[in-house]
Symmetry: D2
Subunit: 412 residues, 4 copies
């Protein structure tokens, strides 16, 4: 048995197959992938990695399995899946996932190949575990897939607490001890036991508060958009293909971006935190139909049009359109008066938080500071946005903290 000291869960015990899995190159690689990507440009303490998060998810999975009374081969399989659930992540975690997915058709939780090959596959088979069945769990399939990737999964319980701990933001402090303890299966579905509507709500609330404060902070979004743009160029204009990029760690990617003339300018800007500014920051109701659903090529075309109209280089415009808000926790299942109900059915908070997500949603147009006014005007015109009042380029920007641009509220 190994014991690893963790800044969130204190001591984590690693046993059996997990003990060998952590020594594989695939797991060790996660030490070099930041959990929150460019969020560290907003919160300087947020340098934690997918490795420590994976240990935490494994730890909570072990507790949940004990609570559910599961041991033997099934428990071993779930533990392996918990530990391995993030090995499919590319550099900077989710930041470049859309770029690689467009070309490989793969998200980070599609790990059948990764688990079958190399050291991981060897370890799994040596412990009589079928890599494919572990990969199924990672993808959320099957009864116990719900525990790894579902509305009540241990992934979320770890990351909310861990991201709050490392950013210093006080909003992610759910009671994971209680959440894990109250899990049970009813008719094959993972549910929270009677008396836990509020425990389920607290998970929802934590994510609703962490989202604008951390995950979708405007500076994190701008730097992520710049990184994504650089990643696109790396694939389009150099020998690096999407599958290769996906298997890099943060060090590989930064080195590649710095060394190619096609991407060096982006790398330098990210290194110096010399970021684009917001030229437009628009609420969902001000965005004409069709734009939110536009595909990648259409977005690129908009960018080129905006640049042309503003008289700037095409590189000087980034259009950042998030998808429509979703709220998967709303289907969390809780026991109420002896019957299983979905949280959305039971809790008035679910609709309210969905409403809050809509009000926090923002379309962003970013550009270098010296052209943001011109780009902003052109973007309003090209996109047909209907915004009253001053352009957001007037708003101070680029702070390291949320203190004056907490969520979407800082738009003018």
């Amino acid at each position: 048995m190994k014991v690893i000291k963790d800044s969130v869960h204190d001591h984590i015990q690693i046993e059996g197959v997990a003990r060998e899995l952590i020594d594989t190159p695939q797991m060790q690689r996660l030490r070099r992938i930041r959990q929150l990507g460019t969020v560290s440009l907003v919160y300087p303490s947020a340098n934690h990695t997918r490795f420590e998060h994976s240990l935490g998810v494994y730890h909570l999975a072990c507790q949940a399995l004990e609570q559910l009374g599961v041991d033997g081969p099934l428990a071993k399989r779930v533990q392996a899946a918990a530990l391995l659930h993030d090995v499919g992540h590319g550099p900077f975690s989710h930041n470049l996932e859309s770029v690689t997915h467009r070309r490989t058709g793969r998200y980070h939780d599609d790990v059948h190949d990764l688990l079958a090959d190399g050291a991981v596959g060897d370890v799994l088979r040596a412990h009589d575990l079928d890599p494919a069945s572990v990969a199924d769990l990672v993808a959320g399939d099957g009864r116990f897939g719900q525990l790894i990737s579902g509305e009540l999964d241990v992934d979320r319980m770890d990351y909310l607490v861990r991201d709050a701990h490392h950013t210093g933001v006080p909003y992610g402090t759910i009671d994971h001890g209680r959440l894990v303890r109250e899990l049970s299966f009813v008719d094959g579905e993972l549910v929270l036991a009677e008396g836990n509507v509020q425990t389920a709500e607290s998970l929802l609330v934590a994510r609703a508060l962490m989202n604008p404060t951390v995950y979708s902070h405007s500076v994190a979004r701008i730097s992520k958009a710049m990184l994504r743009r650089a990643g696109e160029r790396l694939i389009e204009r150099t020998e690096t293909d999407a599958a290769t990029l996906q298997r890099m760690d943060d060090y590989d990617l930064i080195a590649a971006l710095r060394s190619s003339p096609e991407t060096a300018a982006y790398a330098r800007r990210l290194d110096h935190r010399d970021l684009y500014k917001r030229a437009v920051w628009a609420e969902i109701d001000d965005v004409p139909g069709g734009i939110i659903e536009a595909d990648h090529e259409t977005i690129r075309e908009f960018e080129r049009e905006i640049a042309a109209e503003a008289g700037v280089d095409a590189d000087a415009v980034i259009l950042d359109v998030p998808g429509r808000p979703s709220m998967t926790e709303s289907t969390s299942r809780v026991m109420v008066n002896g019957e299983v109900r979905s949280l959305g059915q039971q809790s008035p908070l679910v609709d309210a938080l969905r409403g809050a997500q809509y009000s926090q949603w923002r379309l962003g147009v970013y550009s270098p500071a010296d052209s943001s006014v011109r780009v902003g005007r052109a973007a309003l015109d090209v996109l047909g946005l209907d915004i009253d009042g001053p352009l957001v380029s007037d708003v101070r920007d680029g702070l390291y903290t949320t203190l004056d641009q907490f969520g979407g509220d800082s738009s003018a």
Copy 2:
């Protein structure tokens, strides 16, 4: 300057008039009044006092005043009010406030007499402070009264964090540093600066989660109801009058309850945590019109009727009817796009949390365990309650923790 070590704010500096005020008997008395009364029967670590809370409120008031650019005599007055804001509390804080208010017409924030008299009055006058004007601030009057007792007051910022810290519950962790830093006055009203809708929401959310978990936990409510009953008897059947009771500390009250034959049985039950159980636990929609608004005498009459019908002693029935839910934070003011708005206007959360409060509201009928089924049946009948399913007396009760009766969800 004194420096006091606090488990929440670390070092608290005490200067000027505050330094002398803390040495008065009135302030020292607060060391012997528990902040959360009978909540310590649910959360054994919740033994913190009004004294440390008062220091914390003073500390946050000093920070807020610095942020607002206020110093001189006005700052001194506000600091005195912050430190003294709870000297009017009776034993067990809010637990007996309704009992004494019914007889004295006074709530704990009505402190004009207390501040004018004795050592506190002497200290205030020696520092050229008018006791009446300090008492006005405590009552929430005037521009700076909002900072002491209002929707955005430092009282709430301290108690949410402190109560969470001492109970061990993870839900009260607001960002008080940010809240204090973002305060400003606009047209005489205290508002949160631009970009703080979510900061304001987090205050609301914290209270919404702390409420059922801590403040209105069913065991806390049962023990509070028993204490209140004992307090009533002390006033009605012994020489102790309401004004005297109100000036006691926790030690005086417990000693008085133990020593009088009229109240000793209640004291023994509270000491041994041998509490009444829930005979009925009814949602707001099941309670017939008029009962929520019933006055004290009507409630007592209901209790007697229920006891008669159940064939038990009148002491064996307690009817506990909370007031209608309120949500004062909904009128918090925040700057949005350059104008002052109330939070309720701006945030969809406000309505949702109000809805949640309604769904958590419960009428309780309590009685000794051995008569709870009979009392429950009689209460349904006498009160005309319309409850399907089993009586809540079937539900396990009396645990120390929320873990199986979190909020109102544990009713059957």
Copy 3:
């Protein structure tokens, strides 16, 4: 199973015999006994009780038993002893222990009678546990007695962390998770496994830093001495005898002190924190032979002589002579290179910390502020103290914090 939320260990699970024991009046009484007595007059947040500490000790004992591979009846017995280990404490914990011990011959860990009688005895016997054998463990007897009361006991592991948490002092943060995990038995002796010299040292260091900062802070000592004096009078001049006092809780004692004219003045001073000041504060080398070993009567005689010479009432002088420093941790056993060694043998820190204890030791003479100079002069003379420089009555005193009188260093 019950789960109790604790501010130190988060969730504590209570099962089996422990679940019934916590509901006994003897255990519930511990809710009303402050862990650190008058230390709350120095650190206002230090209001934690013997009850929560007992739960914590039980929690760590369960972890240690699991680590040691112990279950069945033996584990049940040790768990019961862990939970019950402090039921023998009188009001204000250790503060009055010398007073009652002098008359009853009993310390708080002599609990054979207490465990055999009443509800506790009934519960133990109902679970096939012999109360006497549980009491033996509480007294530290036998192999597993070491775990409850020995150099490496779980009692100390809980209180160092808990007292640090509640005072806010950063020095008690030992790694109890590691300590418990590294315990084993070698030849019937409890030892820390190989590689833990430093783990053992950290326990020693934590106590060495907590001692002057918290446990022996001068203001805590002064108020404790005043409480002890009041307790003496209560026994000597009223109908309360030592055995009765020993069974009181904090509420009983405060009520008794307030209501008797013999002790009311002390009660009022403690309530108002209107404490005696240091008239003398002398290092160990300045104290003539014999005084440290003097018995109670001799001390009282010294006090009378000092009062006579100073021309003050005998009540106005308290002579406070601590015992010689001891350091029980020095005999903690650790494995080093395959053999069991005592920590004192292995670690140069042990001698150094013993030296530090000597340099921190202080004899105190306390009196009301207005007579402290006279009392100080008289005490120097009567006790034959050899102190250069000004009397300590010149030194500012009575602060709530250690910030200017940290340990013994504040003497002039």
Copy 4:
């Protein structure tokens, strides 16, 4: 004013010259230099950077300056030095400092050139600050240099707390609030005010406990030695010179090590945490005279001899000889009875901790696992070590945690 959220100090306010300095490329580079280098291979959460540490040092310096009553140009100069004090660090902080120092003659605190050039020089001059005088402070020169780099500097106060927070180890929790508050100047020397012997001791104790647990953990030392070896080869066998290496960030270095065939094998081992094992782990008394003082060339010669005798490749042997233990805190100055004393004069702990350092000191010989027994035997012979008992290669190694090799105690 900017406000940055920090996981240790919560909110850090950045004003004036500091606000512009943090935006320079030199400061932004510190985001990409891990504070503890290879320690993250032992404690996976220890990914914090020199950037956040620099903000913390700036924050404490501002508090200390306020306490010392310093403002105006002098304060600005000290604040700039605090923020910039680590810009001279190379990749992986101290890990490669000996390698570059041997060739450039420079340690990380020699920053006269760095502060005079580029954006930093421009900002300093624009704020009327002389870069040379700021660099003097960084080097510890002058009265206020003591605050930046001295026995009582704010650097240490930040890193002890921060490193403890991020590793999860409970030993670094000094009371920095109190330390900063108690600083004053006496005759031009920085001292802690009366009553702070123990505050000073706690700083010493924290470092003494952190040292073997974190900074000199055997796995951290092994991986650091491997990185150092790789760095040597990079300079010796590729076009990278020492000055260039010194200006790299962690990303540059890892990329360089991976891409050169001379160093790729080391990079792969570090990436996969496939580390050398201890072949010898010897106490200071077992090491013959002269070896500790041996220069770099002699050490290399020893390595070649050991490899030859063991019949392995020269790369397969690393000899790691730490310098003699030092304890700079022993000259910290504290006021005692009105005079300035050095801590070593006053506190028996200083000698004891010096003794502990000697007992924890270890010479290490490392090699790949499959040759460690042969290398161990050869090393004993070549170095003339006098060790009884089994070679340490028998001891389990390579754990992520200290839990079984805490400090030097795990040697056989």
